[in-house]
């Protein structure tokens, strides 16, 4: 290997002072060669983002302190700078010029009051000293390079006028402006849809190859790692547990933790041959899966939900967004129907329409023969006992001012089902059921981790013994290993309590694990619906095939073959 571009040696970082000081990164060493892609993988709290920021020399800015170690970066002129000791002026020169960063959320990484072209041009004026005209010409070049068509028009658009994928491309264009030697990408595709994700990943890989630019990729997604990385550093609680070349890591993981992480990764196609949902960690071919009775619980007929678009001072009705357009499906008792699609396809609105959290325009929602849409307020209150919802973001779904006990028993209190000590007993039963402990009842939401919060949300949803649970992206915000645990919990609960799920998700891997049947939504309509096997093994629609092909596969050996296949499907 040639001389490393970046070498991190025995790095330790801590936050806080005195007694409260906490080591976040402990004795970490790794290096990146020019043109290499190194992925740092770990769950939230593993110190991977802190590491990324330290490589930008931003540790102190974030309130941290480098205790020991060095971060040596070889500059263009051959000089080696140690970020742990360099002065702020040198760091500023390197940042944005030789090392740049791409963040997770493209909307917040761009300034909303400037056009995107202006923002790219500014980087060039600052670091390259170009004049207005030269900067603009170069910015247009860059926009073309990140495969955006019609650059002259895009140059003058504001961030909110672009789609999420387009915005992330602009952020990448900004990062590329000065032809950096190292690009740090902190979960750059986590906020994007799968199809967009695969495009952005392809783009980043191609660009790094063209420029010989090294990539430091921070991610929790093993699928993305398999697609992108040459070498992988696995981190856990601030320590490096393993470092390997990517194919060796996937073939022969050395550390128990790595193996656990890999097991938790949903692998598309792993479920071939099984009829029903199978928990993570069990072999689909051997595990007995639940079989729904076939008797319908929920029947949705021709459901449409439109949102009005209003324009002008007088809020004139200018048209409608057909969020849900003539959607029909049924869910049987004990059955899981997954609703998949990209953001904006109307899957969440469908779930909320069924619960009447938004008012549908027309259609019928029959629960055991009763049309939910025709019930009056009081009857609706009673009907809601049968249907509960678990949201995506467990941080926002719990009232920050109530403790766990109050959250869980709230539905029981509302419906005056239990009182006093019975309430207590039921709450204890519920927390134990979802894998939490009795003493957790006294705690407030901010004292729980993300996974524990989602368990609380599930406990709350279970309190009324509902027949149907609508899981709206319920595991999407969780770390992979936590996600696997929560999915397993949902499957277990279904087997025990005979629950039906409407599982709304964009994650095809998870969907394959948990569903009996799958419905694919696009532009507010269901374009394909069928059993899991039908949809995954023999998709009929172009769109379904595209969705499945776009999922990153946690197997580095298939990288090339799959790319070739995807190219055929999408000629553009």
């Amino acid at each position: 290997m040639s001389k490393p571009l970046l070498s991190v040696e025995n790095l330790s970082i801590s936050f806080g002072r005195g007694d409260k000081a906490k080591r976040v990164v402990e004795d970490l060493s790794f290096s990146i060669a020019p043109g290499e892609c190194v992925a740092v993988v770990g769950e939230s709290g593993s110190g991977k983002s802190v590491t990324a920021f330290s490589v930008l020399g931003l540790t102190a800015f974030n309130g941290g302190r480098i205790e020991t170690g060095a971060i040596r970066f070889t500059r263009r002129n051959g000089e080696v700078t140690d970020f742990a000791r360099a002065d702020e002026k040198t760091l500023r020169d390197i940042r944005g010029d030789e090392i740049t960063m791409v963040f997770q959320e493209p909307m917040t990484a761009l300034n909303p009051v400037f056009t995107v072209g202006e923002q790219i041009a500014e980087v060039l004026r600052r670091h390259r000293g170009l004049d207005r005209k030269a900067a603009k010409a170069r910015a247009l070049d860059l926009i073309t390079r990140v495969r955006i068509t019609d650059p002259a028009r895009r140059f003058n658009q504001y961030p909110h006028e672009l789609s999420g994928g387009m915005r992330q491309r602009i952020v990448i264009a900004m990062a590329l402006a000065c032809a950096p030697r190292l690009l740090i990408a902190d979960e750059p595709t986590t906020a994007l849809d799968v199809t967009i994700q695969s495009q952005v990943l392809d783009l980043m890989r191609e660009l790094s190859r063209e420029d010989g630019m090294a990539l430091l990729f921070i991610t929790h997604d093993m699928g993305v790692v398999a697609e992108m990385a040459d070498r992988v550093v696995v981190m856990r609680r601030g320590n490096k547990v393993e470092e390997q070349a990517v194919d060796r890591l996937f073939a022969q993981p050395q550390h128990v933790y790595t193996r656990k992480l890999l097991d938790a990764v949903p692998r598309l196609g792993a479920m071939a041959g099984a009829a029903g949902p199978v928990p993570f960690g069990l072999d689909p071919k051997l595990a007995a899966s639940s079989r729904p009775s076939g008797e319908p619980l929920l029947e949705v007929r021709n459901l449409s939900t439109w949102f009005p678009i209003r324009k002008g001072v007088l809020q004139r009705h200018a048209g409608d967004v057909r969020a849900v357009d003539d959607v029909s499906f049924t869910i049987g008792r004990g059955e899981t129907l997954s609703l998949v699609g990209e953001s904006g396809s109307g899957k969440s609105t469908t779930g909320r329409s069924i619960l009447r959290l938004v008012r549908p325009r027309s259609g019928e929602v029959l629960v055991e023969g009763w049309d939910v849409l025709k019930l009056d307020t009081e009857a609706l209150r009673v009907a809601r006992r049968d249907m509960q919802i678990v949201f995506q973001d467990p941080y926002a779904a719990l009232d920050p001012r109530l403790n766990a006990f109050e959250q869980i028993v709230e539905p029981l209190v509302i419906h005056r089902i239990d009182k006093g000590s019975a309430l207590r007993d039921r709450a204890i039963e519920l927390v134990r059921r979802v894998g939490l402990e009795d003493e957790h009842l006294e705690r407030y939401p901010h004292e729980f981790s993300g996974g524990q919060r989602q368990r609380l949300c599930i406990a709350r949803a279970l309190s009324l013994s509902p027949k149907l649970i609508i899981a709206d992206e319920s595991v999407s915000a969780l770390d992979v290993s936590i996600q696997a645990q929560v999915v397993n919990l949902l499957i277990e609960l279904q087997q025990e309590l005979g629950l039906s799920y409407l599982f709304i998700s964009h994650d095809m891997g998870v969907v394959e694990r948990i569903s009996h049947r799958v419905a694919v939504m696009q532009h507010g309509r269901i374009v394909e619906i069928g059993t899991r096997q039908q949809v995954f093994e023999d998709p009929q629609e172009e769109y379904t095939r595209k969705l499945i092909a776009a999922v990153p596969v946690a197997d580095p050996t298939t990288r090339m073959t799959r790319k070739a296949a995807a190219k055929i499907i999408e000629p553009a």
Binding site: L355, L357, L380, R381, P400, N403, P411, Y444, R460, L464
Partner: protein, 300 residues
């Protein structure tokens, strides 16, 4: 600071009406807050007991001992501890009585605007529709009309009495609450936990009282502390225009107004009540800070 680490099961218990609310809040107060709280209670007690504590009748004039400086300055009279004004009235007695009246006006007035503004703000934010638009239109209109003009009309119609004055002052501040509360309610009612409660079958009253209101307490308290001292001054400007409390009755604000002409020669006439206003306002600000943190379960 050991109190801060004591586990407190706190607000939950307090909300159920258990008697330990005050104890809980007290346990979350630091040293400065405790001193401040003690002083505030003391101020309230002194204001309430003004008629017993005051050495003189606050309105009794004594032209022989006019413009006496406070004790410690040359020419002071021991009988007038804080000095006397241009009519020879004892400043200590007037400050005590003034404190009583001012505290009553500002506290009751600010509570009226808090209640009215919060109520209308919640409705406007939660119900929206035409009523919400109507409330916000009224807010905009009231913000555009000078307060003194409104006060003039109200007092011209209902006559000049203390209750009318308090209500007028209370109505002067409601629009700020309504604005802030409406914005907060709009934000909080979009949160998934509110939807979860609705999906669980919670009626509107429960959603509002149990989920939305507790989550918007902080900004309400902040607005309260900021408008409190403004109310004291609003009262004094009304008194100055002859619309407020009628002379010779003392309020802190009107005393500052009367001292204006003597600012160069006898500054204490304005300074004594001004310092009292500053002291009380500062206390209220500190108390607001503490209340906001103490009521927040996230900052245990």
């Amino acid at each position: 600071m050991t109190e801060l680490t004591v586990p407190v099961t706190g607000i939950a218990a307090a909300r159920k009406g258990k008697p330990n609310l005050l104890l809980t809040l007290w346990s979350r107060a630091g040293l400065v807050t405790r001193i401040n709280l003690t002083l505030f209670v003391l101020v309230l007690a002194i204001a309430a007991a003004a008629s017993w504590l005051a050495p003189y009748d606050p309105d009794a004039q004594s032209l022989l001992s006019r413009l006496k400086p406070p004790v410690g300055m040359p020419g002071a009279q021991a009988s007038h501890l804080l000095g006397s004004d241009q009519l020879g009235r004892d400043l200590l007695a007037r400050t005590l009585y003034g404190l009583q009246l001012t505290m009553a006006i500002a506290l009751i007035g600010s509570l009226i605007s808090l209640a009215v503004g919060t109520f209308l703000g919640i409705i406007a934010g939660y119900v929206r529709g035409w009523f919400g638009g109507f409330v916000m239109a009224v807010v905009d209109i009231q913000l555009a009309i000078p307060f003194t003009l409104i006060a003039l009309v109200v007092i011209a119609v209902f006559g000049n009495s203390l209750p009318v004055l308090i209500v007028t002052i209370g109505l002067a501040g409601w629009e700020v609450y309504a604005r802030v509360v409406r914005a907060q309610v709009l934000a909080v009612s979009q949160m998934p936990f509110v939807e979860a409660a609705i999906a669980a079958g919670a009626p509107h009253s429960r959603v509002l009282l149990k989920h939305i209101l507790p989550n918007i307490v902080s900004p309400i308290i902040v607005v309260w502390t900021m408008t409190f001292s403004a109310l004291i001054l609003a009262e004094s400007s009304l008194s100055f225009l002859g619309l407020g409390v009628q002379p010779p009755t003392a309020t802190l604000g009107s005393m500052v107004g009367l001292g204006r002409d003597y600012l160069a020669s006898s500054p204490w006439i304005a300074l004594v009540p001004a310092i009292a206003i500053m002291f009380v306002s500062l206390q209220v600000l500190l108390i607001g800070d503490w209340l906001r943190d103490a009521l927040d379960v996230r900052l245990k």
